[in-house]
Structures are given as structure tokens and as C-alpha cells.
């Protein structure tokens, strides 16, 4: 879309443009001033009109020392703390892990405003090289402390051929209107097996953008889980590329949406080579006037014969005011493939409720049992027991808030 006349920038857009200028990203600033934030007319942002939704942008973060206990504790994990975008001393890395920093954003450039902002604003990213299999869970613990701040951060996770590892990234903030922009790039070498989890636990005034990019080489196995349980406005973008035959990816995601919150997961998986498989399972649960969005796109390239991809999206609405939107999209250029998608959306099943209550389980408890059952499928997918329990804890915490 060509923009002929300069558009009128909102206050949030003015702040972002000024921030780009302040870090010396002149070209990006010019471009941003021309296009502004994406509106509903941009297809990928149709349900998440950032021009409308993003009313304020806090100043770029100042470095502060990250102290205190993790918001999210995983027993036995190797923890790397990133405070207001700055990596802290990480302690001794377990065997097989090399931890360091890399300059600038780790994302591949693409025509996307969130990615462009990340690319221009990230100064340094966490760099993790996994040379061999790593037993302990690696936890990148990101927190934003102090007054409202705009923090752009990133990670680059490179997994050597045949290596196995579990990496979780959590985002948490102090109680203020922070804005986070996380960009993570994960490259799986041949035959690597990786579980990569991103959990947003930002304060409910905050805005959080997360972009996850995966490059999946031959015979590798990826499990990606995104859980958005925080922030007022959150959008996670997942870009995955199968580049080697025989690889498999499980993409799971969960939006926990409350009051007037807005959560968006936008998935874009490309099967670019033959003989790769994937499953996509995304769940959303809304109460209050929460709005959840899932956009899932699977592209199968012309040569990518024998692709097998199954996408499922499920929504559970606990209130009249909750809204859940789903947009699946299959773009298939090969002819010998098995691809499908399904979607369900509704409130708690009345016959299930009656059955539980007819055994003496009170209404509220029956609801909790059924909600947990709805969410369990995703939490259950995690093999590491301590990690699985920690994730269950997030779900339980969210359920308890509403009670």
C-alpha cells in the first residue's frame, strides 16, 4: 500500500518515531513516520489495530540492576537474568551451554512494524549456544523494574546438531505501563530437539510484543509454547521455517484473557521442503470483556511434498462480554500433502457441568475442573516435571484471580 500524503501521527506514534531518532535509526524513523502503526487495514493486524489500541509509549528504558527472586521459579533451572533489557551476570553455565551477548536484534528483517521496531531498538541480545544436550532447564528471566519504560530485548538460541535442550523465557514487570518488545531467534541444527517456551506475565497495565522466529533443520524436533497471561495488550508473532527434511514442529499457545485485555497470537509456519510435519494447537480463554485473537497461517511450498500439518484452535468464553476471534489460513502450493484446520468456540459444556454437579461437586469447583481440563492439554505437553508444575501454577494463578 502506497502512502501518498503524510499521515497524521498519534501521540504514541510520535513517541516511537522520536525514540527511533534518538537511537540513530534515522531510516527506520522516516519509514515509521510515513506508515505509522499498523491499522486494521493491514491484514496481519486486522484484529489488532495498533493505531487504536496503543495509546501511550513510555520512554526508552534506563539500565537498572536486576535483583530479587524470579517471578517465576523453576527448581533446578539455569537462570539468566535480563533486567530492563540488560543481561546480568548469569552464573556458571551448565555443561554444553555457552552464554554471551550479541549486538543488535536477532530477528530476520521482514515487513512488520513490531519486527522493525525490535530491529532498530535492541542494543544487545542474549546469545546462547547449545553445543550438546543440556539437562537443566535454561530460564531467561526478563524483568522490567521501576517506572514505565519501553524495553526492546532479544535472544539468539543456536542449537547444535543432535543437541537436546529446554529453554523458557519469561517476561515480568513492575506495576507500571511498560512496553516490551522481545525478539527471539531459535535455530535448530540437524536432529536437534528443543522445547522453547515463552511466557508473558507483565503487569496488567503493560503492553508486550513478542516475536519468535524458528529455523528448523533436517530431522529436528521443536516444541514451541507461548503463554500470554499478562499485559493489557499483548501480541505474540511466531514465524517458523522448515528448511530441512524429516523435521517436526509442535506449536502450542495459550491466551488467558481477562477484563478489557487484548491478546493476539499470530502464527506463520512455512513448510519449505518435502517431508516435514507440524501440529498447531492454540487455546484461548476469555472472561470479562477480554478479546482474544488467533491468526494461524500455514504455507506449503511447491516442492514441499508429503507435508503433514494439522492446526486446531479452541476458544472458551466464560462471560457474555468475552470475544474470541480465529482466522486460520492454509496456503498450499504442493499437491501431495495432508493439511487441515479446525476450530471450536463456546462456553462450558452444560452436560459436563451437570454430570460433575450431579456427583456433588459445587458449580464453581466444577467450572474450575473443566477450565483446567481445557488448558491442561498444553501444559501437559511439557516433559520436564518441575517446569510443567510451574506452568500449571500460572494457570491456577489466573483461575484464582477470577474467583
Amino acid at each position: 500500500m502506497n502512502v501518498q500524503t503524510p499521515i497524521r501521527l498519534t501521540a504514541a506514534e510520535e513517541s516511537l518515531a522520536a525514540q527511533l531518532e534518538s537511537v540513530g535509526a534515522g531510516d527506520a524513523a522516516v519509514r515509521f513516520r510515513e506508515a505509522g502503526l499498523p491499522t486494521r487495514r493491514v491484514e496481519a493486524y486486522h484484529y489488532t489495530d495498533l493505531k487504536v489500541l496503543l495509546s501511550e509509549v513510555p520512554p526508552l528504558a534506563e539500565a537498572v540492576a536486576g535483583t530479587g527472586a524470579p517471578v517465576f521459579d523453576i527448581p533446578g533451572a539455569y537462570r539468566i537474568v535480563v533486567a530492563n533489557g540488560v543481561m546480568q551476570n548469569a552464573g556458571t553455565a551448565p555443561a554444553g551451554v555457552i552464554t554471551g551477548k550479541v549486538g543488535g536484534s536477532t530477528l530476520t528483517m521482514r515487513d512488520d512494524t513490531v519486527v522493525r521496531l525490535n530491529s532498530a531498538l535492541v542494543k544487545e541480545a542474549v546469545n546462547i549456544e547449545l553445543a550438546g544436550s543440556v539437562d537443566p532447564v535454561i530460564h531467561i528471566d526478563r524483568r522490567t523494574d521501576g517506572d514505565a519504560a519501553h524495553v526492546a530485548t532479544g535472544s539468539k538460541i543456536t542449537v547444535a546438531p543432535g543437541a537436546r535442550a529446554t529453554v523458557i523465557e519469561t517476561v515480568a514487570t513492575s506495576d507500571a505501563g511498560h512496553m516490551g518488545n522481545l525478539g527471539t531467534y531459535v535455530a535448530l541444527g540437524e536432529g536437534a530437539e528443543v522445547t522453547h517456551i515463552v511466557v508473558d506475565l507483565s503487569a496488567t497495565q503493560a503492553t508486550q510484543f513478542s516475536t519468535l522466529e524458528y529455523r528448523i533443520d533436517a530431522n529436528a524436533k521443536l516444541m514451541s509454547i507461548v503463554i500470554q497471561a499478562g499485559a493489557n495488550l499483548a501480541r505474540a508473532q511466531i514465524f517458523a521455517n522448515f528448511v530441512g527434511e524429516g523435521a517436526h514442529g509442535d506449536f502450542f499457545g495459550l491466551n488467558l484473557i481477562d477484563t478489557d485485555q487484548h491478546r493476539d497470537i499470530t502464527l506463520d509456519v512455512t513448510h519449505g521442503v518435502p517431508n516435514t510435519t507440524s501440529t498447531e494447537l492454540f487455546k484461548q480463554i476469555g472472561r470479562g470483556h477480554g478479546k482474544g485473537v488467533f491468526q494461524g497461517k500455514i504455507t506449503v511450498a511447491k516442492d514441499a511434498q508429503k507435508t503433514d500439518a494439522k492446526m486446531m484452535s479452541q476458544g472458551l468464553m466464560l462471560s457474555e462480554g468475552a470475544e474470541i476471534l480465529t482466522k486460520p489460513e492454509l496456503v498450499i502450493f504442493a499437491d501431495d500433502v495432508v493439511c487441515g484446520h479446525g476450530a471450536t468456540c463456546g462456553d462450558l459444556d452444560e452436560t459436563w457441568m451437570f454430570y460433575l454437579m450431579s456427583r456433588g461437586i459445587p458449580k464453581a469447583e466444577a467450572e474450575t475442573i473443566l477450565i483446567r481440563a481445557f488448558l491442561e492439554e498444553i501444559v501437559d505437553a511439557v516433559e520436564d516435571e518441575a517446569l510443567g508444575e510451574a506452568l500449571s501454577g500460572i494457570v491456577d494463578g489466573w483461575l484464582a484471580q477470577g474467583a
Binding site: M357, R359, K363, I369
Partner: protein, 265 residues
Amino acid sequence: MNGTAERAENDMTTPMLEIKNLHVRVEDQDILKGVDLTLNRGEMHAIMGRNGSGKSTLSYVLAGKEDYEVTEGEILFEGENLLEMEPDERAAAGVFLAFQYPIEIPGVSTMTFLKAAMNAQRKARGESELSTPEFMKAVKDASGLLEFKQDMLKRALNVGFSGGEKKRAEILQMALLAPKLCILDETDSGLDIDALKVVAEGVNKLRGPDRTMLIITHYQRLLNYIVPDIVHVFSDGRVVETGDKSLALELEAKGYADYESTDAA
């Protein structure tokens, strides 16, 4: 509801369940058209009747399922108005329905469900929760009695259970929850001959002076194992005949043709 001394006195004489002139409408259709039924303490009643005559409707109304509009009549459980109670309150008070079609609930393990149900009822009665070993022992004993495979307890509730396994699971729940009023809606259908005996034995073990049973069935065969005190014939939303166990044999021989005219009237 607390068991005062006054109530305790009544308990001996108050029927377990009294259904008086019950009329029920479902989606603008009159299904139950004046059911009268009195079940005393310790009695075993059987209801037989044609498909669609309203037997399951009656059992759902007793358990408290929504969408049933009671247009006339009343139901008293131990003298209390049952229709004012929520399904969970009815269960805690001692009403149990073994479903004709047990519900599959994905994502909820049978074990988790059993524990939640038992503890919820204990809590409602002011009793302490069961410890895990206590719970496990109760489950093990009941499963043994009903020859219910233990490893099925780890699976999601009723999901992928065979028809017979589902029925067995219902009776397992009944044994664990020890209700005062057991309503068994076609528990025998779907059970093989051996399973029928096992389940019947389980049901017979639960018989006692303080427990009342209402067994809905199409087949006399079940009543050879679970011998009823009283048999009712249900037709077009009403009890049209009541007799002793010989009535079941009579029905088996003659069918429901004799009650047709009653329907038309």
C-alpha cells in the same frame, strides 16, 4: 439442612422419596403427566416401560438437570423439597443417578473426578477431606468389588470407555459415594452376562435398611439378580400399574400391549 432430633424422629416414618402428581414439560412438550410414586426406606423399586415413556426424564428431574419445567406437583426427598435444591446439593443430600448414557469428559482424569466428588460431598456434610491413602484404599476396594480395572482410573472420565465399562464406572461412583437414594437408569444395557452378575452383586452389597433403590430397566433378566420389592409400569409419562416382582415376569411374557388403551385415554 441439619439433622435435628426432630428430623431424626421423622426419618423412620418419612418416605425416602415422594413424588406427587409430577408434571414435566420439555421444550413445549408434556413428557411427565402426573407421576405418583412413594419409595420407602430400604426398598428396592423397579420401573419398566416402553421407549420414550419418560423414565429417563423422571431420573433427570430427580437429579436436577436443567431445561425441565415442572408445571405441577412436587418431589420430597426425606420430607424436603427436592426441586429447590441444586444438583450438587441433591448429591450431597444423598441422591445418586447412574446415567443411562454416562458423559465423557476429556481432560479430567477419572481419579481426579472421584476424589473431587467424594471430598465435595464430605465437605458439604461437614466432614473432613479424605487423605490420599484413605481415598486410594476406598477406590481400590470398590474397584475390586466391581472388577473395575484400576489403570482405567488414570484415563479421562469415560473417554474411550466401552459401553460396559462406562456402566461399571457409574456403579463404582455409586459405591464410593454411598448415596441414600440410588437411581439406576438402564445400568444393565451394554453389560455382558458376566458383567451383569458382577454389577448386580455390587448393587446388592449396597442394599441396606437406609438405602432406597430405583431401578429402571427393560429386562426381567436384571431382576433375577437384583430382586425388587415393588415393580411399576410406566406408560406415557405416568405410573399405570404397580405390583410385586411377578409383574416383571408378566410384562416379559405379554409386553406392554395391555397398557396401550390407558395411553390413549
